[in-house]
Structures are given as C-alpha cells and as structure tokens.
Subunit: 248 residues, 2 copies
DNA sequence: GACTTTGCGTGGCGCCTCGTCAACTTCGCG
DNA sequence: CGCGAAGTTGACGAGGCGCCACGCAAAGTC
C-alpha cells in the first residue's frame, strides 16, 4: 500500500440515529461499558503465551484485539462504513495506539485476509505433496478450500452484511504468492507430462475463479455443504481440462 | 447505496510532494490550466444531441465529463486514493456541482460499472436468442464477454494502476440482474431437457468465475487475445459440465 | 532495590475531505 | 424584457485522519 495518508469513510446515515458523539473529546475513558475489553488482558485464543515479557505479551494481545474488533465492526457496519476510530473504540485503546499496529484500515483488512491465506497455504502444499497426480491435487485442494471457507466463514460473511455493495478482493503479497504457487503446481505437472501443455495461467485463473465464485455462493446458503461445493468444482475442472486448447 | 455520508480517501503520500493546496480556498478558478475541459462544451462522444435545450445539454455533458474525469483519475491514482475533489477538479466544475449528479464517489463507480453491464446485457440476450442449445450459448456468451472486455479495457485496467491493491467488485442492481439472467438461462435449459438437472446457481457461479478471473488475466497480458480466452473458457465449461453432479 | 533507558499507550491537534446550502447565474418562456 | 425555475458556485460546519509531545510502566543496569 506504499504510503497512505487517509482511510476510507463511506459512512452510512443509519448511524446518524443515536446521539452523535461530536463534542465528546475522543473517548473519555470513563464509562465502564467501554471497558468491555480490558486493556492488558489476554484476548481469547491469543497465540503462544509462554515465556514472554509483559511488553511483548501486551503487544500481541493488542494486535489481536484490534483484529478481532475489526472483524466485528466490519461485519456490523460493513467495510466501507467502518472508521479506524470505530475499530479502536471497541478495544478500549486510544486512537493513536491503532497506528502503532497498522497504518490504516486497509492494512487491518489485509492482515485479516493474509491470515486466512497463511492458514490455507500450508494445507494446499500438503495436498500437493500427498497427491500423486493433478486429479488428486485438484480434488484435495477444493475439499481443503471449501472446508476452510466454512471454518472461517465469519471472515467471509463479513463483507456481506448491511449496505455493503463492495466485494473487495485484496492482492496482498501472501495472496499473490498463493496464486502463483497454484500456477507452479500446474506447470510442474505439465513438465512431468501429467498434464497436457495448456495455458497454466488461465487454468490457474479458472481454478481460482470457480473456487471463489462458488465459495461465495456456498457461504450464502442456509445449509453449508462444503463437500457438495467441492464435488461440483472438482468435477467441472477435472472433466473440463480434458478439452482445453493446447498451447503451441 | 442507501444513504451515504462520506467517500473514500486512501491518499498516497506521493501526492504530498508539490505545494499543498491548503490555504487555497477551494479552486480559485483563475489559472487557465485548469480550464482544460471547458465547462459547457460537448464532450467527445456525447450521446444524442439533436433537438435539446441548452440546459438539458449541459446536464448531459456535465455528467459525461464527470464520468470521464473519474475514469481518468481512477486510472491515475487508483480508486482508493481518488477523492471526489480530484474528480471534479479535472472538469472545471465546482465541488457542489458534483453532488447534483452523484451522491458519492461510489456512485460514480457504480455508474461506470453499470454502464458496462448495460452495454453487455443486450448482447448476452441476443446470444441467448440466437443460440439453439446450451453449448452455443456458452460459446457466444464468452466470445461476447471477452470481446467486450477488450473494447472497454480502459475501464478494467482502471483498477490496476499504481498502488491499488483492491479489486472492487460492485453488486449493483444491474449487475445482479445480469447474473440472475444467466442463471435463468441455465434453468430454462434444464427445464427444456437441454441440460441435466445440475445446481444452476453453482453452474452460473462457475461460468461467471471463469469469465472474470480469466478476463482479469487476459487484460494484463501484452497481446490481448479475446478469442483465445473465450476458447479456453468455453472448452472448460462445456466439457466440464458433462461430469457435473446431478441435483437430487 | 534504586536508577536509567526504552517502548509504547495516550489524546489533543492541525490538516483535509465531505456534503450542504444560501446566494447567485443562466435558461426558458410568455 | 422580465420573471420563475433550474442549475452552479464555493464557503462552511462537521468529523475523520494520522501525528507527535508527553508520561508512565516495563526492561535493562549496577
């Protein structure tokens, strides 16, 4: 994101309802309600706490608190309507503190997305390793992906709430690397003769496009059925690539 | 978008270079350079000018000027970094005037997107009508879509420029309707027995996902080859759907 | 344990953009 | 020509942004 000087602020008038907190000088810190999330206490599910200095610990907790708050607020107000202040308010921290952890709202969002990608990439790699051919890889990868979507569904339902008309997809380095990895798997299979010489970038794009778009729909359904979604995507791609035009 | 109260403003510090125009009271209107786009003159390619009052004409021109400026500025700064002021500045109009035409930056973007969808939907419908089976429809539709992408490539390269890490996809009513239409075509074909009873929503999602993702890649390539892209997507889907799991 | 150093949380501030609106200009029409 | 409607203008109040001087508490030193 290079240097950023401001954040997004698509605010929805819905929020104009309650008393505006204008004159209030930035979070008076009285009000017990606000302290819902105490400053320096371990957030639920904080990672790996043993043998850390107190400083390091708070840092971890604060970061996690901001991310969790962000997830909640994004879900509640939608990404666009959320301000950095909305996020930080829920944590009980001061506004300035936010900027010790993230440069902007976008960076928080990136972090959330990257988090997902970081969780799924090793699984894909494992799928790749234990698969002996393209077919198995695709099958495993889709199963992994749709399972992951369900397990992490809150992140992905996040953007759907309310008046958000955006679907934002962010090209973080982590995500790009993940995509590139898939392409490389394909190219490897082509080199090894497991796959005819098709356009690897397009095939990767198709695999990914099918995953994201079907995943999107799956998440919106009442009954989440990752197996069915995976089966659908897998059949389509595996049969489909038989007929793909070859690269000259 | 319902009620909107603000716009996005991810500003890049790059722009902090030149003299900041802080003290300058909103566009002093002197400076001949600014008048690059004269207020009330027909913009290139303005639609259907015959027999209109001057008022109606300016309205059309202003709207078009704003849209064109937006396209340029989005391309230059990226969507996120663009402010309403950036857009309006290029037109020579006053900031207030912007709001006579659009509620926010988002609405401009929607208008640009919808514009695209409005141009392509009739073509898809025509494809649909002149196709006698699913296979022909898919083939025609993909050809249409990728051709359209090339013809309107500037709109789609728009989001790629510079530091923009977002890919924004907007669910405007027009776009949703377009997707729904594709789904209905599929369902029609299922009813008519041209297609086995597959999950029409997922198939639509797959068709669309393949289109968008491959389209995205195509646009980024040196040599734009819509035929190849269409061929790739068509083969994949047409072969692929032969193996799709049937809906019970 | 006392004393220094370092890290970082805090919150007020100046900057900037937003969306509005009263005043003004232009157009259409009789 | 003159009047009302339509549209434009730009200054303004509101509020979010990101910064930074300040102070406190944890870590480091003897």
């Amino acid at each position: 994101m290079g240097d950023v000087k401001g954040g997004v602020s698509i605010r929805q008038s819905v929020r104009g309802d309650g008393p505006r907190m204008s004159d209030v000088k930035e979070m008076p810190s009285r009000s017990p309600l606000i302290k819902a999330m105490p400053k320096h206490e371990p957030a639920a599910g904080a990672p790996d706490t043993r043998a850390k200095g107190k400083r390091e610990l708070t840092k971890l907790n604060n970061r996690e608190a901001i991310l969790n708050s962000a997830r909640e607020v994004f879900a509640e107000l939608g990404y666009g309507a959320t301000t950095v202040r909305d996020v930080i308010r829920k944590t009980g921290l001061a506004s300035g503190t936010f900027y010790n952890y993230f440069k902007s709202k976008e960076e928080v969002f990136e972090a959330i997305m990257d988090d997902g990608m970081r969780r799924i990439r090793p699984r894909l790699k494992a799928d790749r390793i234990r698969s002996r051919n393209f077919e198995e890889f695709i099958r495993n990868a889709y199963a992994t992906y749709f399972d992951y979507l369900v397990s992490d569904r809150h992140t992905f339902q996040m953007m759907r709430g309310n008046q958000t008309w955006f679907r934002v997809r962010m090209d973080t380095p982590e995500i790009l690397a993940g995509l590139e990895e898939i392409k490389e798997y394909i190219e490897e299979d082509i080199r090894d003769g497991n796959l005819p010489p098709v356009d690897s970038e397009y095939l990767m794009a198709a695999v990914v496009g099918v995953a994201t778009e079907i995943g999107d729909r799956m998440i919106l359904r009442q009954k989440l059925d990752p197996k069915a979604a995976a089966e659908f995507a897998t059949s389509l791609i595996l049969k489909g690539f038989e007929a793909l035009p070859l690269k000259k």
